[in-house]
Symmetry: C2
Subunit: 478 residues, 2 copies
């Protein structure tokens, strides 16, 4: 049961080691500040990784890959990998605690984007790039997991997106290895496009690369304390808007489009609603922006609406000063999320659509029990198993958010900070509300207890709760 | 379809008219302030009520009582009845708007207890008694609905509590008419006991009667602006604690106890957990009360924990000053509620138990799909229908709370006020958080828009969402 997961983890750590070696070499060349930390991290990741690979090499012969191995691989790669990847922070000249290093790394790979680092503008550029790369790796990691693993594990209704069922109406027939290659190529291509667009919009090459890495992954780490506000340029904002949306769309639809299915995005039930929702909310919001908003009010509202809804978390200004309604709006948007099979977190569009379908069907069955109802979503017939999966997900999601918020108030945080911190971590968004962790704030002043709670919530949200919770069922280990 | 519901509504309004006549007579004798308002209300209720009864008298012959009639009767009696019952406020010397009169009445009959009235200590005593009686009527109304109607309508998992299934292991076999008589007698008896206990604890006869009416109904209206804090007496607090719990226990268990099933409360899966939860939270809370708390710290914490959890809403002091953790705690407790088949609102204990059971079963099925699981709750075998009912309820409950909170921020309220107002209305608790509607606050300064939203949320919560939402399904009316 454990062989193949440990082998896969070993390979992941070897890959991490290789990247860290590159960073050590680059740092020695560019800034000469933290190459020792990167080098030590590379050696440690390499040792553990190659040790695991050699110890479990025989498992590669084992063709069986059962459910439990899937869950264990998922949990291992999203905990051990970030723990190892936090070493470059911990061993750097930042002089931060292990708690802070782990918080920053988990916030990175889960593409949350909450940060405990301040004075980003004067940080070793290689550390900034490391943060961006962590988000970028986490982004492609979650896409692959959402497409290949989650439907197999039947997490939170993701069985709807099984490749067999979705390929029925599609021209796409492909093996996992081909799919991984295609997704990775697409992800790289979109990132390069985004970087080029940022550069054209006026960013320096370094800023363009970093922000491209964190835009497409809907992560939201920036190279400046002022985030995108540093640039104050509508062109930059629009590049961000377009590529945050690009990262929050279902990646299978891109592949289908390239393989000739021209209207793939329209066939997906999520995309049209998602785009319409963003446009409607941004447009309505712009109408209510205070008078001193200036000519770019639609751009500014759209930037932040898209940033929070796609769970990216870039900010160009503190939208809490726009009025009470906007505070409520952004709190609500925190929970929305993008499409399934993208880099974005939170509840996601399809679950709202399924909730509406099941709730309507349930209402109808209440007053007319004999009615026969058959419902489909994206060509798949909905059964009670999918309904239970989605509704159980929603109930536990809210439960995790509530318990997280309650626990955070017990550490002494006010209600708005605690609830928004719990929400922003669980939904992998980034900024919260209130003075401490608002869009202009920072998580550095939080207690270590609170930081560990938030780290747990980020992982719980990123792994759609159930992929992590199964491990706590004693029966799992029998 | 409409005959029997309108007949029943007519009878209810005739009953209301009779009570209002008594109030007119009493007011003319006691305070001579508002007897005209009571009299006019009595005449109007009487006219409409007797009109409905004579128009639909023939429907009494119709023995069929189908699902739709049940939903229509439920909705009619919880909207038209309170609208008519708000007239004594509107026609009184209080000089309040229709919005305020309806808010106060709906808050009363739903046993919420949020108030827009100030200077209660100098109000016409008959108006104070009218408020208390509204809560008391609403309390027994919801018990009867929860026992006789909700299981039949299969709302939110209430089908678990169908009389046939619960009577299997019970000595209780009874017709609805007998049951109504027994529940009413029990309710009156408990109220009298409570009033006697309050009087013994030092309350005046008038205060004892009013508070007994609003304690047992877990309503929370008081005759003083300072609520129970006016008395500042631990004996009063303990009477309140005991009878708020009494009102939040499953009323069927009382009847079973009286009919000889000595351990009925222990056989009910909710009661032991509910009591243990209240004790554990109160005890833990008392440990963390600030140092200036004085000797009665356990009493003071228990009073407010029980008050909020049972959805009563009495307050003796502003617990928001106890610290950030308490603010989070009381916000969370708002959602808990008491047992099914009681006067309390909110999510209720059995739904948390069912969520835990279904979530565990779901987790187990994720990693071991071939496992055969049979689960029971209180002797009833759980099926997927009950699971879908409960989970759909929980998801929509959270949806209603969130949309309510968002809509309230759009009226200009800060996030804490908006979220806690939405929660306290939907859960029928009473006080919210923040300076405006906190335990020491009042809803009078809210905008009319906000008041109507809250009125809607109170009804939605009291009718367990689905009993109201079915009416908005176009298919319902075919």
């Amino acid at each position: 049961m454990l062989g193949r997961p440990f082998l896969a983890l070993g390979l992941l750590l070897c890959g991490l080691s290789a990247v860290e070696f590159v960073f050590a070499a680059l740092d020695a060349t560019v800034s000469d500040e933290n190459w020792q930390g990167f080098l030590m991290s590379a050696v440690m990741s390499g040792l553990i990784g190659s040790g695991l690979v050699s110890a479990f090499w025989s498992a590669a012969q084992d063709r069986r890959f059962d459910l439990r191995s899937g869950f264990i691989l998922t949990a291992l790669s999203w905990t051990v990998f970030p723990l190892m990847a936090s070493l470059p922070f911990f061993l750097s000249d930042l002089d931060i605690s292990l708690t802070d290093a782990v918080f920053e790394t988990i916030s990175g790979v889960t593409t949350t984007g909450s940060t405990i680092l301040t004075d980003l503008d004067h940080l070793d550029p290689m550390l900034l790039l490391w943060r961006s790369v962590l988000q970028w790796i986490g982004g492609v990691g979650i896409i692959l997991m959402a497409i290949l693993m989650m439907p197999f594990l039947r997490i939170g209704g993701m069985q709807l997106f099984q490749l067999e069922s979705s390929s029925k109406e599609s021209t796409l027939h492909t093996r996992p290895a081909t799919l991984i290659r295609d997704i990775a190529a697409l992800y790289v291509m979109l990132t390069l496009l985004c970087a080029a667009a940022y550069a054209l919009a006026g960013m320096s090459a370094f800023d363009a690369i970093n922000h491209a890495l964190t835009t497409l992954s809907t992560g939201g780490y920036s190279t400046h304390d002022a985030s995108l506000g540093y640039f104050g340029d509508a062109r930059v904002y629009w590049v961000a808007i377009i590529f945050m949306i690009a990262g929050a769309l279902p990646f299978m639809a891109y592949l289908k489009t390239f393989s000739g299915e021209a209207r793939a995005f329209f066939h997906d039930p999520q995309t049209p609603l998602f785009i319409a929702f963003l446009a409607a909310v941004s447009f309505t919001g712009a109408l209510f922006l205070p008078e001193d908003a200036g000519p770019n009010s639609f751009t500014r509202v759209a930037l932040h609406v898209v940033s929070v809804t796609t769970t990216t978390g870039f900010a160009a200004e503190d939208y809490q000063y726009w009025g009470a309604g906007f505070v409520g709006l952004f709190f609500a948007l925190t929970f929305v999320g993008g499409c399934a099979g993208s880099t974005s977190g939170a509840v996601k569009i399809y679950r709202f659509q399924l909730l509406a379908l099941y709730a309507t069907a349930h209402l109808r069955r209440l007053h007319s029990p004999s009615i026969v109802q058959t419902q489909t979503y994206g060509g798949v017939t909905l059964d009670r198993d999918i309904g239970l999966s989605v509704l159980a997900f929603l109930s536990l999601f809210v439960g995790a958010f509530s318990l997280g918020g309650l626990a955070l108030t017990l550490t002494g945080l006010d209600l708005v900070t605690a609830l928004s911190a719990s929400a922003t971590a669980l939904c992998n968004v980034g900024p919260g509300l209130g003075e401490i962790i608002g869009p202009a704030g920072n998580f550095t002043t939080m207690s270590d207890t609170a930081k560990w709670m938030l780290t747990g919530l980020m992982l719980l949200g990123r792994l759609e709760l159930f992929a992590l919770l199964v491990l706590f069922d004693p029966y799992f280990w029998r």
